[in-house]
């Protein structure tokens, strides 16, 4: 066994306190809301969001300025006894993405609550705000945690904040969906925890950096990785482990669905990426990557077809999420397991990150648009929505723009992501992956088209509007959808950011 102290000790960087801020600010907000009257919930959340966004921007700015990862050593204790927080380029990108999407969802939720003035300052909205802040804090911790057990706690916090979001409205179906979500997520956590234990037993540390330097091909590493990855897949709802996602994401209130589908689901995927790309030795990463990609390809094809078959709009979007998750998993064989090039140097890496970001923006805006539609007409049966584009033109435009990104049509972030993935599949000689990417795009076009066709249709009987929707409510999702499209115009900028804090070659990490 190699001693853990072969690596240089973690040193808190000047901007390291920002990482703590990113985690702590939402927690402070939750505590403040517990203490204060519900009337103040909104101002607390507003202030927190401003501060949190500022922190996220500062992290990104600090990272770009120094060109090195931000580190904070909690309490000054070095691993394996202490914990380190570390933000590299990918973490900062994820934090920034969260800081863009989450405030958008918050503004939307605020507008949606304003539609029902009688309950605006009641208990339910405060619960929502607390959970939202909880999700934010847990997400930030997931993105910057450097200790596998610490990450376990972060994932659990995330689950505990996300599950009640599903059943905020208290209907029996959503209650069942929430319970199903919670239980399957717990099953995944248990596997992850067991893997953590095996890692500790083998190496005496859980610090990702030390593990990536020490991990070799002993059996304990294989078993631990298998358990942890399987557990994360359960939480990421990768096909065939997606049983909980469609009812949970489709049943939740619009703003909650947006949070779950756009952000929460990305956390286990992010951790899988860290495990495969950083902890696993290169040959193992190649094998694991292949298996993940096969499952991802199945997810893309099968769940896109299922999305096409759904009668309800929100279920369709939820199935689309399961399908789009598949794209994130086919990045693995494209980006990992090559000796010549470090994973983060490949275009697949950029493509994957871009896919993650554009999906978050597009899916959040799509769920919000679906929420507006359901609010306006009292239902979301796709078949009975003929001509909704005339009544809610902005929501229809939102849906179309977000759909553009999901289908991977130009000009959009999804298109650039698809191009990059396709290019690396062609260059790497994976014809089955390129076929899957294209077929998935076609099927996505199918389900987006089905809704857009309704939007543009001339209805036989005019749609009955249950509630008038103010235009400013429709604007927030439209802006997020536009951002998803605009991502297509800055594909070369994030590339540099994504590589900050990563060693140039894997060989350098192996002493």
């Amino acid at each position: 066994m190699l001693p853990a102290n072969a690596l240089p000790a973690y040193v808190t960087t000047p901007g390291g306190f920002l990482l703590v801020l990113a985690i702590i600010l939402p927690v402070v907000a939750v505590l403040a809301m517990l203490v204060l009257d519900p009337r103040h919930a909104r101002s607390v959340v507003g202030a927190t969001i401003l501060a949190g966004v500022a922190a996220a921007l500062a992290i990104a700015e600090e990272l770009i300025r120094t060109g090195a990862a931000l580190i904070y050593v909690v309490g000054g204790w070095q691993p394996p006894l202490g914990l380190a927080l570390r933000a590299d380029g990918l973490s900062a990108t994820m934090i920034a993405m969260t800081a863009i999407v989450l405030p958008g969802i918050a503004i939307f939720a605020r507008g949606l609550q304003d539609l029902k003035p009688e309950t605006r300052n009641g208990r339910a909205p405060t619960t929502f705000w607390s959970l939202l802040m909880g999700v934010w804090s847990a997400l930030c911790l997931t993105f910057i945690g450097q200790d596998l057990f610490n990450l376990y706690v972060a994932l659990e916090l995330l689950t505990f904040a996300a599950v009640p979001l599903v059943c905020l409205d208290g209907r029996s179906e959503t209650m069942g969906a929430a319970l199903r979500y919670l239980m399957f997520a717990l099953l995944g956590s248990m596997l992850y925890l067991l893997g953590t234990g095996l890692f500790y037993g083998a190496f005496g540390t859980l610090d990702i950096r030390s593990l990536s330097a020490m991990s070799d091909d002993r059996p304990a590493v294989s078993v631990a990785l298998a358990l942890m990855i399987a557990g994360l897949l359960a939480k990421a709802a990768l096909f065939p482990l997606h049983l909980w996602l469609p009812p949970a994401h489709a049943g939740a209130p619009a703003a909650a669905s947006a949070v779950l589908s756009a952000l929460v689901i990305k956390a286990p995927i992010f951790l899988t990426l860290r495990l495969v790309a950083e902890v696993a030795p290169t040959p193992m990463a190649a094998i694991a990557g292949k298996i993940l990609a096969i499952l991802g390809a199945f997810a893309i094809i099968l769940c896109s077809v299922m999305a096409l078959r759904q009668a309800r709009l929100k279920l369709m979007i939820a199935y689309s999420t399961v399908a789009q998750i598949g794209y994130l998993f086919i990045v693995f064989p494209l980006a990992t397991g090559a000796d010549a090039l470090p994973p983060w140097g490949t275009i697949a890496w950029t493509g994957g990150a871009l896919q993650l970001g554009s999906h978050a923006l597009a899916k959040a805006s799509m769920f919000m648009a679906a929420g507006i539609i359901a609010e306006a007409f009292g239902h979301d049966n796709i078949r009975d929505l003929s001509g909704f584009g005339r009544i809610l033109p902005l929501s229809a435009a939102t849906f179309g723009l977000a759909g553009l990104s999901l289908m991977g049509l130009p000009p959009s972030g999804g298109f650039i992501a698809k191009c990059l993935l396709l290019t690396s599949a062609v260059l790497g000689g994976h014809p089955w992956l390129s076929t899957t990417i294209l077929a998935g795009g076609l099927l996505a076009a199918g389900y987006v088209f089905r809704v857009m066709n309704r939007a543009l249709a001339t209805p036989q009987t005019p749609l009955i509007i249950r509630r008038k929707i103010p235009a400013r409510l429709e604007v927030v999702p439209l802006i997020l959808a536009l951002l998803a499209v605009l991502l297509g115009f800055v594909p070369l900028e994030p590339l540099g950011l994504l590589q900050i804090g990563r060693p140039d070659r894997p060989a350098e990490t192996m002493p």
Partner: protein
């Protein structure tokens, strides 16, 4: 940036800007009457900008625009037809509730369809090509009838399939280049040496053949073009299919001789040329007959390109573009003429029918018309091989099909209602008809190896006339076969494909069963354990 560059940019930007400004309700209401002006910068660019000009727009656009000879030829004709059809649309569709929305789709399609002629880098080409493909859907389903919706569905499925082929081809093209978004020209120069050459060529031909409507990928065309309102049919059949022509011109390496690929394209093209005529003759509806004629004519363009590819003849693109602009103006004019003819009566009808007859026979190669010029120019390049004979005989087929069309038109206009035609409809028709003479004649001397005297040579004229006579005789004989009428459904082999729909449903049903099985808790739990064991086993058993 130079004035030429600005003009090229305006050719794309003006229609796009008009479409975006339609977000405002007041502008949208006025948009139909402004359609006629949208293609004006493109028209000026085609006329004034010297060939070979290229401008680069830096990030975030990263777009390169360039005008070459084939692009300019197609751009000019296309812009003129767009403008005339826009005027026609403004008159015939004014005041109807759906017209402003129609204008938005029109402008978007216009942007894309003119854009494909002038963009020079691969990513922008894909962008404008996608724009024209998808926006045309809005034109096709505008009437919202069951037939239009079916046509729209078939169209959009095939169009997206074509996009997928092209995306893969473009990615493969760009994968070998140092620049992530290379110029088409540079990528083409590297293509013959690329290890993925055959894959790229196959995908490129598939993708653009779909857009051009080459058999058997033509099934959407006879459904989609007739489903749209008349002016939209004119531009769909006249201009939008040319996106496929310019695609083949741009993405086939004409500098290098590729005999196998050339022979393949020639065969498909000739087969399409005859197939379109044969199926077209069995059709009853005017617009459908014209659509099948488009299929047939695009087959001839593909033949020209195929022969050029086989011999590595760099003149082929210009000749194909020349044939293309002839078809743009004539086919657009014919659709407009049908639109005018169907509402004209009395003494005004006869001149309209006469003009329609002239336009129709021009497609068959009537001497001194644009069709004759296009055919003479093409034959000179084709040489004296079997392709020339086949092409000459195809003119007989075109003659028969056009006579069939004229007979149908005469029958339908016999009982016209009392609505008088307006100058707003006749003027665009006259402009297009005049342009169909002026533009091809003025371009003819500039073609490689052509001078004016070759167009009026007796021998050349004779090879134009005898197929027409043959076609006339064939038409007379076919008229007696009543069984031919309506013998084949619109979209012909599509009907066979639609028989497979239950099969697709069954596959989807199987997927649904798999999905619902995996969503049972015990199944999912066992699957989770299995995946963990599979991963563990795979990681342990690693060599």
């Amino acid at each position: 940036m130079s004035a030429e560059g600005l003009l090229l940019f305006a050719a794309v930007l003006l229609p796009l800007g008009m479409a975006i400004s339609c977000l405002s309700r007041t502008i949208r209401a006025r948009a139909p009457s402004l359609l006629v002006f949208a293609p004006v910068p493109a028209m000026l660019a085609a006329w004034l900008v010297p060939n070979g000009v290229s401008v680069f727009f830096p990030a975030p656009l990263r777009m390169t625009l360039a005008l070459d000879r084939p692009g300019a030829i197609l751009l000019g004709g296309a812009a003129l037809l767009w403008s005339a059809a826009g005027a026609f649309a403004a008159t015939t569709m004014a005041g109807r509730p759906g017209t402003p929305g129609f204008a938005v789709w029109w402008l978007l399609t216009l942007t894309g369809s003119l854009g494909v002629f002038i963009v020079a880098d691969i990513a922008s080409f894909y962008l404008v090509f996608t724009l024209v493909s998808l926006a045309a859907y809005g034109l096709i389903v505008h009437e919202q009838t069951a037939a239009a919706l079916r046509a729209g569905l078939v169209y959009v499925v095939l169009a997206l399939l074509g996009e997928a082929f092209l995306l893969l081809a473009f990615v493969m093209l760009a994968a070998g280049a140092p620049d992530p978004n290379p110029l088409i020209r540079d990528a083409m120069a590297a293509l013959p040496a690329s290890p993925m050459r055959d894959g790229i060529l196959a995908l490129v031909i598939l993708g653009f053949a779909l857009k051009m409507g080459l058999v058997p990928l033509h099934v959407w065309l006879p459904l989609a073009h007739p489903a749209a309102p008349m002016p939209a049919s004119a531009v769909l059949s006249g201009v939008v299919v040319k996106a496929g022509v310019i695609g083949l011109i741009r993405f086939l390496p004409f500098e290098t001789a590729l005999p196998a690929w050339g022979a393949m394209l020639t065969t498909v093209g000739l087969f399409t040329a005859y197939y379109g005529v044969i199926v077209g003759i069995t059709q009853q509806r005017l617009k459908t007959i014209l659509a099948y004629s488009t299929v047939s004519q695009m087959g001839l363009v593909a033949t020209i390109l195929g022969v050029g590819l086989a011999h590595g003849d760099p003149a082929a693109p210009v000749l194909a573009a020349y044939y293309g602009v002839h078809h743009t103006l004539i086919k657009g004019g014919l659709f407009l003429a049908v639109g005018v003819g169907l509402v004209t009566r009395g003494s005004h009808l006869r001149p309209i029918l006469l003009l329609t007859g002239l336009l129709a026979l021009s497609l068959a190669g009537l001497p001194l018309t644009s069709g004759a010029l296009a055919k003479i120019a093409a034959k000179q390049m084709l040489g004296s091989g079997i392709a020339t004979i086949a092409m000459t005989l195809a003119a007989a087929g075109s003659t028969a099909l056009m006579l069939h069309f004229l007979a149908a038109l005469k029958r339908e206009t016999a009982a016209n209602a009392e609505t008088p035609e307006t100058p707003g409809q006749v003027a665009p028709l006259l402009v297009v008809a005049a342009a169909s003479i002026i533009i091809p004649w003025s371009l003819y001397p500039g073609l490689p190896g052509m001078n004016l005297s070759s167009a009026v040579e007796i021998g050349a004229l004779w090879t134009l006339v005898w197929p027409m006579v043959l076609g006339g005789i064939a038409f007379m004989m076919l008229r007696r076969l009543n069984g031919l009428r309506g013998a084949l459904p619109e979209g012909d082999i599509l009907v066979l494909a639609e028989k497979c729909a239950p099969l697709v449903g069954r596959v989807a049903g199987t997927f649904a069963k798999v999905d619902s099985l995996t969503r049972h808790w015990p199944v999912a739990g066992v699957l989770l354990v299995c995946i963990a064991m599979l991963l563990g086993g795979a990681l342990l058993s690693r060599p």
